[in-house]
């Protein structure tokens, strides 16, 4: 599978990544090479193989549906660039 510049732009958009126009051909080249490496997987048949989601086939542990965390909003929001009244500020979304 070879990716062209249009593919890279589409993937970058899906990933919400701004990529400089001048860097797009380089990404197309490298990503195509990585996909060529990945496609070596098709050399082997996996028709009756069960996909492995966990190395030890563990089941997701469940816990009681009770509050276990204290409210630390103010503490955690110190790491944010822009907050007001406990809210995160972003550019206006609705006109």
């Amino acid at each position: 599978m070879s990716l062209d510049s249009a593919d890279v732009k589409k993937i970058a958009h899906l990933a919400r990544l701004a990529v400089d126009e001048q860097d797009i051909p380089g990404y197309a080249h490298n990503l195509s090479n990585i996909l060529a490496l990945v496609e070596q997987m098709s050399a082997v048949s996996t028709d009756n193989v069960t996909p492995m989601a966990h190395p030890l086939d563990e089941i997701q542990r469940l816990r009681d549906d009770v509050v276990t965390e204290n409210d630390q909003r103010d503490h955690f929001q110190q790491a944010a660039q822009q907050v007001e009244d406990g809210l995160y500020l972003v550019p206006q979304v609705i006109e």
Partner: protein, 484 residues
């Protein structure tokens, strides 16, 4: 003091031969002296380290010290450390002061260990040479023109140059074992789920596992014992008792069955590395071990499968970096989409962006079955190869890396060549098995690592097998001349 192991330092501290404060100041002095060149630390926390050392000295005086009390350690900058910058070597987190401690850090704090600082690494642990760090490459203390390996390159270089008694690392595809090999130190990646991932910044959650980088297997046993064990805050952490890893270090190796996978000794293996490995295997025969050739037939598929699973999981994990709640935020965004795109585009380096894009592509509509599902099936085949092998052998031995340390810049233009430097370590992560690297000699003045792979939860045996080898060899005691 810096040449001593943790086991030796602990004795010195407990006998009062020196204080933790003296020891900590000695390491801080060495960091000042040597690290401008090596670049192994991103952050050094001098005041905090001295305060922790003083507290450790009080605890030592009261007689309630444990093995790690007062021992100066370095922590990989992937572990959240309350009140201390936690960057993951990314511009994205250059301004991030972690608001809590990772479980691993919490456990070292409870043991009274001293944190000297946070070590350099590949950005978000994505790399095999420590060259993707926002803070610049780390130099290998054995030859500063070569890489220390990655992603835990800073931890490896710091321990090799004796700028910390030991360090933590994380290993998603070889990030503890490969730099340990390239820097001539001991490293262990435990079984997936053995150590809590809480507060360890996520890269590929089904592969990530924390471990340690030390001078000796004995030190690794002490460190791993302190950090391993169940943690309800990590949903994949396994509820299984942690044995005393130091108790079984001296078990006799007579009758130990070692498997040598032929696929790891094939084309692409450097001759100098092969020679060192042969000599190491001979030492094990002297210790009474029996050596048989085995086959792990799907080994060649490990790198292709890894470069689907790891990027797919990374694209999901790194979606949390949005420029809103923490981390880097671009200047003057036009709108919300521009805020997301430019914060991420400017905050991540090229290798991280490549992996996010590969993962995004592999998970996009119509491609899931061909990529992620296929890779998860191949994972099963690789894991079954190991299961089959462990029916007949106790441990598997192989070169940790196919070559010694390569030159800085040598592989940066070609991601594929860089990816293939982890060819001997990745399968272990895909299968979730524990693996170690032990210094086994030198090729052209650069260290070579012997990889020891064990069955699930067989860390005690790995440490035993490594320790017995270190009792009859002195490769682990070698220190690069400039840092003696």
């Amino acid at each position: 003091m810096h040449q001593m192991t943790i086991a030796e330092l602990a004795k010195g501290l407990q006998k009062g031969q020196f204080s933790s404060e003296e020891l900590t100041r000695a390491y801080l002095q060495r960091i000042k002296q040597f690290d401008a060149e090596l670049n192994s630390y991103i952050t050094v926390v001098e005041e905090q380290a001295i305060a922790q050392a003083k507290a450790a000295d009080q605890r030592l005086a009261k007689g309630d010290a444990v093995a790690l009390t007062g021992i100066p350690l370095a922590q990989k900058d992937i572990f959240c450390t309350n009140g201390v910058k936690t960057s993951c070597a990314s511009k994205m987190l250059d301004n991030f002061i972690a608001p809590y401690d990772a479980t691993v850090i919490e456990r070292f704090n409870q043991a009274g260990a001293v944190m000297l600082g946070k070590t350099n690494m590949d950005e978000f642990a994505m790399g095999s040479s420590n060259e993707t760090s926002f803070y610049g490459p780390v130099k290998n203390p054995w030859n500063i023109e070569t890489v220390p390996g990655g992603s835990s390159g800073g931890s490896a270089a710091a321990v090799a140059a004796r700028l910390a008694a030991a360090a933590t690392g994380t290993d998603t595809g070889g990030s503890i074992r490969q730099p340990a090999a390239l820097c001539g130190i001991t490293g262990i990646k435990p079984t997936y789920g053995r150590v809590s991932r809480y507060g360890m910044i996520a890269f590929a959650s089904s592969l990530d596992q924390a471990g340690v980088m030390t001078q000796t297997a004995e030190d690794a046993a002490i460190m791993l014992g302190a950090m391993a064990g169940f943690d309800e805050r990590d949903s994949t952490c396994l509820d299984k008792a942690v044995p005393d890893y130091t108790a079984t270090l001296n078990h006799d190796l007579k009758g130990l069955k070692i498997g040598l996978p032929k696929e790891y000794f094939a084309e692409g293996l450097d001759n100098g590395v092969a020679t060192v490995l042969e000599a190491a295997i001979e030492e094990y025969k002297k210790l009474g071990a029996e050596v048989v050739e085995i086959s792990l037939p799907n080994s060649a598929l490990s790198v292709p499968a890894y470069y689907v699973v790891a990027p797919a999981e990374c694209s999901s994990n790194l979606s949390r970096f949005d420029g809103v709640r923490f981390g880097y935020r671009c200047e003057d965004p036009n709108d919300l989409e521009d805020l997301y795109k430019r914060s991420r585009g400017e905050g991540f380096g090229p290798e991280v962006k490549r992996r996010i894009m590969i993962g995004t592509y592999a998970l996009s509509a119509g491609y899931y079955d061909a990529y992620y599902l296929k890779a998860q099936k191949i994972r099963r085949l690789i894991s079954d190869d190991f299961k089959q092998a462990f029916k007949n052998v106790d441990v598997i031995m192989a070169p940790t890396a196919p070559t010694t340390a390569f030159r800085i810049g040598e592989k940066t233009d070609d991601p594929i060549t860089m990816y293939l430097s982890d060819i001997n370590t990745i399968a272990v992560n895909l299968a979730g098995l524990p693996g170690m690297s032990v210094p086994a000699g030198f090729s052209q003045a650069l260290p070579v690592g012997l990889q020891i792979i064990g069955n699930y939860f067989d860390e005690a045996r790995l440490l035993n097998v490594a320790h017995k080898y270190q009792q009859i060899t002195d490769w682990h005691k070698q220190i690069p001349a400039a840092y003696k």
